[in-house]
Symmetry: C2
Subunit: 207 residues, 2 copies
């Protein structure tokens, strides 16, 4: 890579977005962050990563956040980030880590509102990966090992959770066409050719 | 082109979607339809194209459509397409023309709900072109010759009309990420490189 480039990948559950991002990072020889963000945020904040795991890409319950700030949960001390519910803490600490990673150099970051957190970055490219329902279901069952019974419901719930997470922290609808430089249905070309196309897109920007 | 391929292009006003579609058609050496659809629909239906022009990509007023069908406007005869308001007539006749064009062979069709009308086609590729607000405004003023004063409002209104048209005849929100194989911000790469990327996409499908 001649120039620094920050690639964010938002993705429907089962669309292969993680795999596409991983291959893209490998081909561009730049770091890749998905679940890796949890480990790094935990390292940098000194918080047990297991505590984070359950809060990953899940919005806080606004009731608890508001309660913590408004009804004197803190007693007499000034509220800090440590008083917030874990989901909000993770979002804030993770945002800090995401900004730091982007400062370090080129990278691929999957999910976690990175397209919003880094939207002011000059060299950001924002992708959204979706896919046909049947393909997503197949991938969820056969690659992710989710039991067939209930897989569709699980898929729906995961995307609904991602949408709520985005809406909660960004204040905008998840998956809006205008928020991305390129959105692609990975079913149309398949994973490999989708990676090739995204590579071409990245290289044309850097040309 | 080795295989038949039907390309539909939905586009925000000012995004350069028409230009992109035109270049795509030229490079693939296949017919291109935008305003040309009006002429052809007029030819095939025997209706004056000037009557169609005002109804192009505008939804009907549901009040008149419903009135025409429900409150005896037709007197005693059985209602036909000729009794419908011009906008509905144009949509129906144009849909017929669009299906006929798709049957004839490979083509590029801009707007007019073609992605919906042809969604059952096996060889359909559905693109959506959007762009940054500033670029759209520039194009609208300097290429389309819309007076600077009021250009932004005109741009907004045109897109709102396209959205209403789509919603009215398709029953779904216009510009939903999942309805397209690929959606692209033409500001990121510029018109020429966007055309190149879409060409690569089309060729990968046909590979």
């Amino acid at each position: 890579m001649d120039h620094k480039i920050i690639i964010t990948i938002a993705r429907e559950y089962g669309s292969g977005g993680r795999e596409i991002g991983k291959q893209l990072a490998e081909q561009l020889k730049i770091p890749f962050y998905d679940k890796e963000l949890i480990t790094r945020t935990a390292e940098e904040s000194g918080i047990d990563p297991d505590l984070f795991e359950n809060a990953d890409e899940k919005p806080s319950n606004p009731f608890w956040t508001s309660l913590a700030f408004n009804i004197g949960t803190f007693g007499s001390h000034i509220p800090t980030i440590n008083d917030l519910p874990m989901n909000d803490r993770l979002f804030l600490l993770q945002s800090k880590t995401i900004r730091k990673i982007a400062e370090e150099g080129s990278c691929v970051i999957v999910g976690r509102c990175a397209d919003y957190i880094l939207e002011k970055e000059e060299n950001i490219i924002r992708f959204f990966i979706h896919a046909d329902r049947e393909d997503k279901l197949n991938r969820v069952i056969h690659s992710y090992g989710i039991p067939e019974e209930g897989a569709q419901e699980f898929m729906k719930k995961t995307d609904r959770r991602r949408a709520t997470y985005y809406d909660y922290y960004v204040g905008e609808k998840w998956g809006q066409i205008n928020r991305y430089d390129l959105s692609i249905n990975s079913s149309t070309l398949g994973i490999q050719s989708t990676v090739d196309l995204l590579l071409k897109f990245v290289k044309q920007i850097n040309a």
